[in-house]
């Protein structure tokens, strides 16, 4: 109970402080992070759709970007659902590209039968492709040009 009251009080305090802060900023002609007046509706960010079709790689060792949605695929300590389609044991049946054989090498370069632990969390390296502007600008040019 005590904790609850404390939480409400601190939330209230924070809100009041913030409101005062925004007020002060706007009176000084500074735009807020919100970029719009408090009475205007704020446009939400665009939702970018999944792009289909495989993109060419920009350099030889690039992890290919994912040409399909990866929403709702479980990747955790217990299960990696990507392997259901991409592991060498299933890829043929599922019509998916087999994991690169590099994914079956451990740190010492030993060939394994199951995917290496270092490759377990696929989305560390492979991201779904979307028709979205780059988050960070860069001047990279593929080595093939």
């Amino acid at each position: 109970m005590k904790l609850h009251v404390l939480a409400v009080a601190s939330a209230l305090a924070a809100t009041l402080t913030f409101a005062g802060f925004v007020g002060a900023q706007q009176s000084g002609g500074v735009t807020s992070l919100r970029n719009a007046g408090i009475d205007e509706t704020n446009a939400i960010e665009d939702v970018y759709r999944q792009d289909e079709g495989r993109e060419p790689r920009n350099y030889r060792q690039q992890p290919p970007i994912v040409p399909h949605s990866i929403e709702q695929y479980q990747i955790d300590l217990r299960t990696n659902q990507c392997l259901t389609c991409h592991d060498w044991t299933t890829a043929g049946d599922r019509g998916a590209p087999t994991l690169s054989m590099t994914h079956y090498l451990d740190r010492q370069g030993t060939q394994l039968d199951t995917v290496a632990g270092t490759r377990w969390f696929c989305n560390q390296c492979h991201v779904p492709q979307a028709d979205a502007p780059a988050l960070v600008g860069n001047t990279f040019k593929p080595s093939s040009n």
Binding site: H68, S69, Q72, Q74, D76, R78, T79, Q81, T90, A96
Partner: protein, 165 residues
């Protein structure tokens, strides 16, 4: 029953773009009277274990996760995913607006008489390690029972008189 409820709330059957929701009973309680009664009687077992606390801690739950999933897969495979099909039907799917991957596999499923649960394990609950092996085991077990073979596609086609097409 809290663990599985929580997991389900992270999935598309709970929240999605179209605003249609499938609740627990939509998938786990058949519509047809005779199957519904059977499900209700079998549910006594769930109540019993809930009272007993068989899955009352996360650790106990994990220990039983695969076994519980396997029991449900067996039911779904044996009934040709009857409860899924109360809402989903191949006939109503527009393959042209599905992801290529999905459209191709749905066509394959029709052609070879596969059923929803053959691919869609873990759509509403987390999966345990070794789930695919266990599912294959379920399929083998059912296939070994004489009356539950795969769907006879050729038979259905000739029944409908579409064999010559």
């Amino acid at each position: 029953m809290e663990t599985n409820l929580g997991e389900y709330r992270e999935t598309v059957h709970y929240n999605n773009h179209s605003g249609v929701r499938a609740i627990c009973s939509d998938c786990h309680v058949p519509h047809e009277w005779q199957y519904k009664m059977k499900a209700k009687i079998m549910a006594v077992k769930d109540v019993y274990h809930e009272v007993l606390g068989t899955i009352s801690t996360p650790e106990k739950y994990e220990e039983r996760r695969l076994e519980m999933a396997s029991a449900v897969w067996t039911k779904m495979k044996a009934s040709d995913s009857r409860e899924c099909r109360n809402c989903h039907a191949f006939e109503y799917m527009d393959f042209t607006i599905q992801e290529t991957r999905a459209a191709q596999n749905h066509q394959k499923a029709i052609d070879t008489g596969m059923t929803c649960i053959d691919c869609h394990q873990g759509i509403a609950h987390d999966l345990a390690p070794g789930y695919l092996e266990e599912y294959n085991h379920v399929v083998k077990k059912l296939a070994a029972q004489p009356h539950q073979g795969p769907i006879d596609v050729a038979g259905i086609k000739s029944f409908l008189g579409t064999q010559s097409e």
